[in-house]
Amino acid sequence: MAMEREKLKSVIESLLLVSEAILNLDRLSAVIEGVEKKEILSAIEDLQSEYETQERGIRLVEVGGGYQLRTPKANSDWIRTLFRSKAARMSKPTLETLAIVAYKQPITRGEIEHIRGVSVDGIIGTLLARQWVRIVGRKDVPGKPFLYGTTREFLELFNLKDLTGLPTLKEMEEITQPQIPEQNTLPAEESKVDSNETSNQ
């Protein structure tokens, strides 16, 4: 079923509005039958620039492998007032631990502690509970410790399309593009983990 440009934009806007989760292109394309992905993408771009140029109260952002409607930063004060937000703060140790996991994943707790020079026991628990990190496998060393990696929620939190969007780590070009490991770490990937380890030392 063919669809007019303006209608297509309107439909996409509605779908994004009602979705709490991120919608990726596949999902959008499955819902809007008969319209090419190329057209959907171009309609998304139109919406993005319209919100931007008209200084609207919403933005269409590409984040965590899909699309989501968000508010612009400039309006954050009003939103916090609305929510009467008296929220917990993310502590420096939490943030540092999260950064280490993000750049060095998959990584064990022991390896994180070696970098930070101090225990991260409670912090890992918090990060798991917030679903910003998850267990992605076990390292093939004595004790078979868990390996941790970041999640899609992590990408959402920091407004990242994918891990390649992480700020570049200074003087460490070799690890600027970490990949999200699969849930079941395969033996082949285990060996990749080991070689990464050695190259970083």
Partner: protein, 257 residues
């Protein structure tokens, strides 16, 4: 002193070293071991004096520093195989500091991004706000301890030996600080200690301040490096008094002076 304050897993020995390196305006690569070791041990003394939970990692680092320092002072022994051992230890320390610094900076970069539920919001935001409006604490525990150390240094030595047991509770001091902030909204760090006449009172005041920071009742900021440290109330006095009464914070932490 039976008081015992447990801080959240704050910062570790590497943080303390980076703090000292920055304070002395030296570079990590040319870390002056003797000077840094001395200041590191002094800070540990202050922490111990406050009964702050000293993670074992702090002591391990202390022994590493002392070891490196002592090896630097001794002439290499005749025919010693691993003449470079202390050099290696120093290299290893520098490597660790550099690596840690890198992730610290990366985490600061991440914090500057548009964070969900702090800067930007989605439909599902309402239930889960995660951030305070003004983001991150600007002063580290070590900055505060350095300021406290300066306060302690200014206290004259007592001329007579004190035998009276002073009854000051951390809780009382917390209320005192809150009341002061209620009148003035903002005060300079040093002014909190003006009325204190003994070392004990200074320590209790400092512990009370740490408790309030931990409870997010006050914030400490510094507009410029080496500038005055400003203490500011972040919740209303009524809210805080209520919270103090309700939770009895400070009491379970072992006040019993």
């Amino acid at each position: 002193m039976p008081m015992h304050v447990q801080l959240e897993a704050y910062e570790g020995p590497l943080d303390l070293l980076l703090h000292l390196i920055k304070k002395n305006e030296v570079s990590i690569a040319d870390i002056p071991i003797a000077l840094i070791t001395q200041q590191y041990l002094e800070t540990l003394e202050v922490m111990r004096g406050l009964n702050l939970d000293l993670a074992g990692e702090f002591l391990i680092m202390a022994s590493t520093l002392i070891h490196i320092k002592s090896r630097m002072l001794l002439p290499p022994e005749e025919g010693e195989e691993d003449e470079d051992e202390w050099g290696d230890q120093r290299e290893e320390l520098i490597r660790r500091l550099l690596e840690y610094q890198r992730y610290k900076e990366a985490s600061e970069d991440l914090a500057k991004r548009e964070l969900l539920n702090r800067d930007v919001f989605t439909r599902s935001s309402e239930a889960t706000p995660e951030f305070e409006s003004d983001g991150f604490v600007k002063l580290s525990l070590f900055d505060l301890m350095a300021a406290f150390q300066r306060v302690l240094e200014r206290l004259p030595e007592p001329e007579i030996h004190q035998v009276t047991v002073e009854e000051i509770s951390v809780r009382e001091k917390m209320s005192f600080i809150l009341a002061m902030l209620h009148r003035k909204t903002k005060v300079v760090f040093q002014s909190l200690f003006e009325d204190a006449s003994s070392r004990m009172q200074l320590v209790v005041t400092f512990l009370a301040l740490l408790e309030l920071i931990k409870m997010r009742a006050v914030s400490v900021t510094q507009e410029e490096r080496m500038g005055p440290i400003v203490v500011e109330a972040v919740t209303s006095l009524d809210d805080m008094e209520e919270k103090l009464a309700g939770e009895g914070t400070g009491e379970e932490n072992g006040h019993g002076a």
